[in-house]
Amino acid sequence: MNFIDEFRDKNTILAFNELIKKELKAPINIMEICGGHTHSIMKYALPSILPKGINFVHGPGCPVCVMPRKRIDMAIKLAAMPNTIFCTLGDLLRVPGSKFSLLELRAKGCDVRALYSPLEVLKIAEQNQDKNIIFFAIGFETTTPMTALLLEKVINLGLENVFFHINHITVPAPIHAIMNDENVKIDAFLGPSHVSVITGWGIYEDIARLYKTPIAVSGFEPVDIMQSVLNIVRQKNEGKFEVFNQYQRAVSKEGNLKAQELVKCYFDECDFEFRGLGEIKKSGLRLKDEFARYNAELKFDCEVESKNESKACICGQILRGVAKPYDCKVFGKACTPKTPIGSCMVSGEGACAAYYKYSKVNE
């Protein structure tokens, strides 16, 4: 398949691997910021061919994994309201709240829908004018412009029954938080290309310089990842710490200015509590005051009492890159994709789910 096959090409992958093996001089801890990379790395079993010195460490870049339980409980409370259609993206539906998940709530009869595109909300709102449609917006810089576009369309169409619960977060802030943790030993980063399609690769220049860590903004295919790893190895060998734009096919330094403008128009920065990392300054986005009438947190009673996270679960350490899923006592035992304790085991992008699903095959 064009644009896919060449990035999964056996000979190219093996050629990159040979170069990495030849040039690697010392072990490197590479944090893949995004859960999508964790899944690609495990799905294509790259650690099983790469030299042992390449140590991949999972980062905080799965929006579902870093959502604190309180936000999930808020979602469940909103979705359980009468006369409501609750819409959100993907596998947030599986994450356990204090009592149950959104999927279990749906089985009890509530109208909970997983969307592929936020714009599906428009059709749902038009077809159900007697109901409140709540869009639980989640994701990093990749998905935020779509939420902004949806809000713009809701306003332009004069839809009065659509409300937003905003849980958008940004990539650089948690990276700073991680690098300022003295327990963390990260030598380089893989940056998610889809985030940089929007933000540009320029957002990482400060991080690379400040922490002296090479960063490769990488695509998600195995050839992309292997090329990025080789670049990181070379930067380390040469004592460089730059941002390498591996995903030149879609990423520029400035990114998508139109999308950035759209986000600026509707959102302000705010502090946000990351699961496992605590509250991080200016790491989230909130609806600007002038759009308060669309804010589900103001329109509805969202207050919830949440149970603490399970003490057995070490998702927090995994998300900070100081532990691997195997280090967790409940991994693969009490905590499996079917009986998840932490959201890292639930999300399609979660580290524990990736390790559980694909790995240990060579042991």
């Binding site: 398949m1 896919i4 999964r8 056996k10 992958i13 093996l14 691997n17 999508g36 495990m42 799905k43 294509y44 079993a45 790259l46 099983s48 061919i49 929006p63 579902v64 993206l89 993907g90 596998d91 947030l92 539906l93 599986r94 999927l103 279990e104 749906r106 089985a107 009890k108 997983a114 969307l115 592929y116 989640i138 994701g139 990093f140 990749t142 998905t143 889809h194 195995p222 994709p337 079917k338 999300s347 399609g348 992008e349 559980y356 699903k357 694909y358 790995s359 240990k360 095959v361 060579n362």
Partner: protein, 328 residues
């Protein structure tokens, strides 16, 4: 109290849980074999029986495939999978108030056409009509009865057997996704009865040990079920498994794995190693994408291992939960 969720119908681990819940209550030696069809050996001749319920949204996937064709192929294929020739079909219709007669007629004509093709007669049936909003337009139940020609049972899986796949995978699931999401993609469901292929294999005396059509849960569910039932590890080669570009595209878009998408006219078979080439020749007459995809290993850890083109290995897990599109 735990409730039934959509995941219990997805063809993955939750569905196995539901099936075990039912099996436990009706526990008997025939049911417990867990073949695609039950083998009834005490009724004079060897009979195989299989029943299936069908829902499809939308009811018509394209001009050729609708719930009618599906309900025949599904049951007929289950009977074929135990090495039996399908003969008789029962037809139960639960119709929702409001379904147009013209549509029902079109569906019934598809049933007739597919039955004629498979050499099967509809010999009994039932209809019920439920109020609007209670029935998703149409539910169909079919039960197929067939005569066992050469018994094939999954309990006979052992090390050293070759695994073959009769065609490319994921087209039925892909076609449903395209229709439901109003996408433009040229994906035609693989829905068809497998009578030709299976009877040709049996007539050629290929030593087929067992067969299974890869319906809900896809190839991944079949291989994992076989690994679990037999206890043996199964190794499959990614490069050998044909997937249409458009199906791969849909998977990329939604974040799914083609191995987990449903098929309705593609089956997996275990044959003696010496017969693999002969079996492949026969299968390729019906579908050029048929291939030898792997083997049953001697290790007994009940795992399915997928080896990719560049030699790396990973597990091919059984599907879990319901398929949800990825978040970004």
């Amino acid at each position: 109290m735990k409730e039934i969720s959509l995941a219990h119908g997805g063809g993955g681990e939750e569905m196995n849980e539901l099936v075990s819940f039912i099996f436990k209550l009706f526990d008997n030696e025939i049911l417990n074999q867990a073949n695609d069809s039950a083998l009834l050996e005490n009724l004079g001749s060897n009979l195989a029986i299989s029943t299936d319920n069908f829902t499809l949204s939308p009811l018509f996937l394209n001009e050729e495939v609708n719930i009618g064709k599906l309900c025949v192929c599904g049951s007929v294929n289950d009977v074929l999978m135990v090495g039996a020739k399908p003969l008789y079909l029962s037809l139960g219709l639960i119709i929702e108030e409001g379904l147009e007669f013209a549509k029902l007629e079109q569906i019934l004509k598809s049933i007739k056409k597919e039955c004629d093709k498979a050499g099967v007669k509809v010999v009994c049936g039932d209809t019920k009509v439920v109020p609007k909003g209670k029935g998703d337009l149409l539910y169909i139940n079919t039960t197929c009865l067939g005569e066992v020609l050469c018994k094939k049972e999954t309990k006979n899986i052992k090390e050293g057997l070759s695994l073959l796949l009769s065609g490319d995978i994921g087209r039925h699931g892909g076609a449903v996704l395209v229709q439901r999401n109003e996408l433009e993609a040229d994906i035609k469901s693989d829905c068809k009865s497998l009578t030709g292929e299976v009877l040709a294999l049996l007539e050629a005396k290929i030593r087929v040990v067992c067969m299974r059509d890869a319906t809900r849960g896809g190839l991944s569910a079949v291989l994992n079920e076989w690994a679990r039932q037999s206890g043996f590890d199964i190794l499959v080669y990614e490069e050998k498994i044909a997937i249409q570009d458009e199906v791969m595209g849909i998977c990329e878009l939604f974040g799914y794995e083609a191995y987990e998408l449903a098929n309705e006219g593609t089956f997996v078979l275990c044959v003696e190693k010496e017969d693999e080439q002969k079996a492949l020749e026969i299968l390729r007459k019906f579908n050029p994408n048929a291939n030898i995809i792997g083997e049953v290993l001697k290790e007994k850890k009940a795992r399915v291992i997928l080896q990719n083109a560049f030699g790396a290995k990973r597990f091919l897990e059984a599907p879990k939960g319901e398929l949800l599109p990825r978040i970004c």
